[in-house]
């Protein structure tokens, strides 16, 4: 019983006070999972663009 209450409370704390949309717990959790993968890819993508830009600038000098 106490575990149920705690899990319910932890769910409440993550919701914004002014969100009217019911997002579904599963959708929130999956973002943490997908985010790790997608975030890494995204980081490399932007990092790679920065590296390319850095070398492009060096060539101009």
């Amino acid at each position: 019983m106490q575990l149920v209450i705690i899990s319910l409370l932890s769910f409440l704390s993550i919701e914004s006070a002014h969100a009217y949309l019911d997002p579904g717990t599963g959708s929130m959790i999956i973002q943490a999972v997908i985010g790790a993968v997608a975030g890494a890819l995204f980081f490399i993508k932007t990092y790679w663009a920065n590296i390319k830009a850095f070398f492009a600038n060096r060539k101009k000098k």
């Binding site: 575990l3 149920v4 705690i6 899990s7 319910l8 932890s10 769910f11 993550i14 919701e15 914004s16 006070a17 002014h18 969100a19 009217y20 949309l21 997002p23 579904g24 717990t25 599963g26 959708s27 929130m28 959790i29 999956i30 973002q31 943490a32 999972v33 997908i34 985010g35 790790a36 993968v37 997608a38 975030g39 890494a40 890819l41 995204f42 980081f43 993508k45």
Partner: protein
């Protein structure tokens, strides 16, 4: 001021829409006002307005009751189940774009429904100002599921299964349920990286956690800003990778296969133009417009026009052409006149029916159409006339006789049970509801073009 609430605006109490005289008013209160001020102070509002991605809003009044804004009006309201594949795709990309830019400025979209987008001057435009709220790092995207159901699922289904599947949106007011979408995808598509993450896996997670309290371990639910941007970027690549298979539909190649010689085609165009301009229309609806060849007679003159057709490939081609031309006066949309879009949603008034929206049009074109309604679909001529009279004041209609090669094809495989389908029968049926203003034969063909005015 005297405000009448809009039937679709009830889910978010802090940003409601009302009618007032001929304007739309958005009333912000509580956190809605805070969010709006942040939207302006962060510079996000200016950026979106100058990029033409958000509909301009004007401040009307600020009082103890709230902050009142008035958005510019969209001339042609259309819904995702009426859009072509590319139109839905562009609306999806716009939404992701907005979310990406919002995050960069410390804000986020609290909903991602397809109904937040309308087509304004030929381009997708976001209309829901109240969607923007403050972003707190660590929070996952609350609208992620909604985005997947409203945009990704129908696009994947249209691309991988069948182009007609956005019609499901009529049945599912909050987008296509993920498990339904996944069940319809071919197995290979389910496991491609993008669709796997955002649809297949997403759907599994949803089902697992559907019963609150079953899994009592507290799972990590916070997500960094970089990872959130990564998800948006991944959604963007996934949406971009979806495209239509080359589909051959009945009407895709229409203009190559009809019996118009060039001369009669030009004559018809001239007649349609002179009939149409004589009524000085402000909004023209072309029914059975195919790729919008005749609709463009009016839109090219700056007259707001909508090209409606039953064939999704024709609508798709028209939309792509609208984009290429940067056409600001034409909207392309899907309709089956024998089963037109009903009002849907709560009380069947959240999304307007075809007929309700027709109140805005004052001229209807029904070219090369009547034989499909009357013969292929057995609709009595007088009932068609009655329906058209409910849609518009003015009508330009082409009567296609049984001697025409197209009608011969329609009658070749069925019994001719249409004794009243003659020029006189047609005129008699329509005269019950319309006054015949002009009548002329289209030179080079057996067809007759009419200009009619509702009695």
């Amino acid at each position: 001021m005297q405000l009448n609430s809009h039937p679709a605006s009830f889910r978010d109490p802090e940003g409601q829409i009302f009618f007032h005289q001929n304007k739309l008013i958005r009333k912000l209160s509580g956190n809605g006002i805070k969010s709006y001020k942040m939207l302006r102070e962060s510079g996000l509002y200016e950026e979106l307005i100058s990029d033409k991605k958000l509909i301009p809003h004007h401040e009307v009044e600020e009082s103890s009751e709230g902050l009142f804004l008035s958005p510019d009006l969209i001339e042609n309201i259309s819904y995702p189940y009426e859009w072509s594949f590319s139109a839905l795709k562009d609306a999806a990309l716009l939404t992701l774009d907005l979310q990406f830019n919002a995050l960069k400025r410390g804000m986020t979209l609290k909903d991602a429904t397809a109904y937040n987008v309308q087509f304004y001057k030929g381009k997708p435009c976001f209309i829901d100002l109240s969607s923007f709220e403050e972003y707190n790092e660590g929070e996952p995207w609350i609208a992620y599921k909604q985005f997947c159901q409203h945009f990704l699922a129908p696009l994947a289904l249209m691309s991988k299964v069948n182009i007609n599947l956005n019609a499901l949106a009529k049945n599912y007011i909050d987008g296509i349920p993920l498990d339904l979408a996944v069940s319809m995808l071919p197995t290979l598509s389910r496991y491609r990286p993008g669709l796997y993450m955002h649809l297949t896996l997403h759907s599994k997670m949803q089902k697992n956690y559907a019963d609150l309290g079953e899994k009592t371990e507290s799972k990590k639910r916070s997500i960094s800003k970089n990872n959130l941007l990564g998800i948006i970027d991944s959604l963007k690549s996934t949406v971009n990778s979806l495209s239509l298979k080359n589909v051959d539909t009945e009407w895709g190649d229409y203009y190559n296969n009809t019996n118009y010689n060039d001369e009669s085609f030009e004559n018809k165009k001239k007649l349609v133009e002179s009939f149409g301009l004589s009524v000085e229309p402000s909004t023209v609806w072309d029914l059975g417009a195919n790729r919008g060849v005749f609709t463009r007679i009016f839109s090219d003159k700056g007259i707001n026009s909508v090209a409606w057709d039953i064939d999704p490939v024709a609508v798709e081609r028209n939309y792509n052409q609208i984009k290429k031309e940067n056409n600001e006066n034409l909207t392309a949309a899907l309709i089956d006149l024998t089963n037109p879009t009903p009002g849907i949603g709560f009380q069947n008034t959240e999304r307007d029916s075809f007929e309700t929206r027709a109140q805005r049009c004052d001229l209807i074109l029904s070219l090369a159409l009547i034989h499909h309604l009357a013969i292929s679909n057995n609709l009595p001529l007088d009932r068609v006339a009655e329906y058209f009279s409910k849609l518009s004041e003015n009508l330009i209609i082409e009567f296609v006789p049984k001697s025409d090669s197209q009608v011969k094809i329609l009658l070749s495989s069925r019994k001719d049970i249409f004794p009243n389908y003659t020029l006189d029968g047609f005129k008699e049926a329509f005269s019950q509801y319309f006054e015949i203003v002009k009548e002329e034969n289209v030179k080079g063909s057996e067809r007759t073009l009419f200009l009619m005015k509702k009695k």
